[in-house]
């Protein structure tokens, strides 16, 4: 059973292996976290860290290799696609590239309508009424219902993606890099929309992004992933004010902020090396080869995820 009853989603020691050309890739390795009702959990990490895979495992869009995924107390890993199907209404996803996730031959209104039909919600007449209301709520004019995806801008398409995901009345929404492809001024509009909708509908979000500023802004809790493992996990305000894993610090320091009027430009200092191949992860702490504070022990002994203070855990021998 999940630890906390109010968690909409609870991942417990979830792992996922992929077999690529007879080699095993540990894409996700024993990841655990809860998504409480109405809250947002941010997943951050570089490309290849496994953050999108974790999102898909949480929605049971991918089968797990090990571990349990509880959605409102029900273990999705023990269910069949058929028995999960009625739950799908309550679990939705918003993708980075809305153009790729919408049919080119269907008007965007029909795409939202389709989502409602799929789940047998309302009569056709009621569905269209709902489509119009939703389109208006996400900031699209009624005339855009009749537009095809290629006629809309990236920001407008993302609004359609949001309308489609929310049309069926979900409780949990996985947002997979929903603003990464958008211009800054449009990003803000979409982020504000997501925040308003969360408050109105008491939604729980898993927010996946490599943009730490966006994650900081939206998340209540943040999970930092490196090579498929959780290296740090903490409430958002703690993580960003007192990051304790060297990797989290590197991520935060890599962000270029606009200097204040009397500040010098930020020094461009780069993290050494590249993310190692997930097929042959380094021994000991997988981050040791790039870590600025690594000692001998780091290359031989695997650090355990340990609790630093309430709600703040870190996987590092030297973090304090």
């Amino acid at each position: 059973m999940p630890a906390e009853a109010e968690a909409v989603l609870s991942l417990q020691n979830v792992s996922k292996d992929f077999v690529v050309r007879h080699r095993v890739l540990h894409a996700v390795d024993r990841v655990s976290f809860d998504v409480p009702k109405g809250k947002t959990v941010g997943l951050v990490g570089e490309s290849g860290s496994g953050k999108s895979t974790v999102g898909r495992l949480g929605l049971s869009l991918l089968p797990t290799t090990a571990g349990n995924v509880y959605f409102k107390g029900q273990d999705l890993t023990k269910m069949t696609p058929k028995t999960i199907r009625p739950l799908r209404r309550a679990m939705q996803i918003i993708f980075q590239d809305p153009l790729a996730s919408l049919s080119q031959r269907m008007t965007v209104g029909a795409a939202v309508f389709d989502a409602l039909s799929l789940h047998n919600i309302g009569t056709p007449k009621e569905r269209w009424k709902r489509v119009d209301a939703l389109m208006e709520r996400v900031g699209l004019s009624a005339s855009m219902t009749q537009a095809y995806p290629f006629e809309l801008s990236g920001g407008q398409l993302q609004r359609v993606g949001i309308a489609r995901a929310l049309s069926v009345g979900p409780e949990l929404v996985v947002c997979d890099e929903p603003v990464s492809a958008l211009d800054v001024s449009i990003q803000i509009q979409i982020i504000q929309l997501l925040r308003e909708l969360q408050a109105e509908m008491n939604l729980s979000y898993i927010f996946i992004s490599h943009n730490l500023a966006v994650v900081e802004y939206l998340s209540d809790e943040v999970v930092v992933l490196y090579l498929g493992q959780v290296v740090e996990q903490a409430p958002a305000d703690q993580l960003f004010t007192r990051p304790s894993h060297p990797y989290t610090r590197v991520l935060i320091d890599s962000i270029l902020r606009v200097p204040k009027a009397d500040e010098p430009q930020q020094k461009l200092e780069a993290l050494r090396g590249e993310m190692p191949s997930p097929f042959s992860p380094p021994s000991g702490c997988t981050f040791h080869g790039r870590c600025p504070i690594a000692q001998d022990i780091c290359s031989t002994e695997v650090p355990q995820l340990r609790l630093l203070e309430a709600g703040h855990s870190v996987k590092c021998h030297f973090a304090e």
């Binding site: 570089e46 490309s47 211009d183 982020i191 900081e216 270029l256 430009q265 461009l268 590249e274 993310m275």
Partner: protein
């Protein structure tokens, strides 16, 4: 003062479409000094890429490019034929694009691609080009240069591919590097590596860089000067310091207010309302007027020209004095 390396006056680019014309670049003028790093900032469709690609002759067939003056070193880019322009491009002006996967040849070994860049421009003999490729790979931070020479683009990560693109772009020792969103598709850690590499190359060669980006964090930390584009026009041009301390165009002000940075958690974000326009008629009024909180009747009647506010700080706005006093 030294002669500028690149000088452009009144650049116009239009794209003819079946039933209308898109006015993508509307009278852009600027210059770049030797060794200077200039950032061109703006949203999608503001004309930042198109204006640079127009100068290089890299726009599609339905484009009409007009310019009063386009001088690079001693060359008049306006008078050069496509062949001569091709020789300057890649030899004296290097170009790096956002997505290295689409600019590299997928079926050619990366080392051969770097060598080709030098041989096509008669910059080096095959033997010298081979040796120089190894040196370049080393310089841009590609490990195990001899082995990696023989790999294909798909065998590299995004960051490594961008390093290869940069090696190609700087192979013939260009004096100007045009980088079009070179780090947009990359992780923050890799972005930092690539920017640090570009800065190092720039300092070692005293190369000028024009960095096209929509990221203010990148522009303000990497560049000496920033030009903000909107609807095909430069609306503000200033040193980074002036731009940060005294933004004079309402659009610059709005963009700055809408930047989501670390530490924004408890801040109310103010998006610039509305969308940038698609310009299908030659602008005769301020293109930003309908999104602007400073707009007065004059803005809706008269196109503001780029004017000098103070030394080195240009702005195209009738209301800049009010903008500065309100911001200050």
């Amino acid at each position: 003062m030294a002669e500028p390396l690149l000088q452009v006056e009144n650049l116009y680019t239009q794209f003819r479409r079946a039933d209308d014309t898109v006015y993508a670049v509307n009278g852009v003028s600027f210059s770049v000094d030797p060794g200077e790093v200039v950032g061109i900032v703006g949203e999608s469709g503001s004309g930042k890429s198109v204006s640079m690609m127009s100068l290089l002759g890299l726009v599609r067939g339905n484009a009409v490019v007009k310019v009063d003056r386009a001088r690079f070193k001693t060359y008049d880019l306006k008078k050069l034929g496509s062949h001569a322009l091709e020789d300057i491009r890649g030899r004296e002006i290097g170009v790096v694009f956002q997505d290295p996967m689409t600019s590299l040849n997928p079926v050619m070994r990366v080392g051969d691609q770097v060598m080709e860049a030098m041989m096509a421009h008669h910059y080096a003999t095959p033997k010298a080009a081979f040796q120089r490729t190894l040196d370049l790979f080393h310089e841009v931070g590609i490990p195990e240069v001899v082995n990696r020479f023989r790999n294909y683009p798909h065998e590299f990560s995004g960051g490594m591919r961008q390093r290869i693109m940069i090696a190609i772009a700087v192979a013939c020792e260009p004096e100007l590097l045009i980088a079009d969103e070179p780090t947009t598709a990359l992780d923050v850690t890799v972005q930092m590596q690539i920017l640090a590499l570009l800065q190092e190359l720039k300092e070692r060669r005293n190369m000028s860089i024009m960095m096209i980006t929509h990221d203010f964090g990148v522009a303000t930390n990497f560049c000496d000067r920033i030009m903000v584009m909107y609807a095909g026009q430069i609306v503000e041009s200033a040193t980074v310091q002036d731009f940060i301390a005294r933004p004079a165009h309402p659009y610059s002000l709005g963009l700055k207010a809408s930047i989501l940075e670390m530490g924004s958690r408890n801040r109310e974000l103010v998006p610039v309302p509305g969308l940038p326009p698609v310009v299908t008629r030659p602008p005769t009024r301020c293109s930003f007027a309908e999104r602007c909180t400073f707009a007065i009747d004059r803005c809706r009647e008269e196109l503001p020209a780029l004017r000098m506010l103070e030394s080195g700080h240009l702005v195209a706005c009738h209301r800049s004095e009010e903008v500065i006093s309100r911001a200050g």
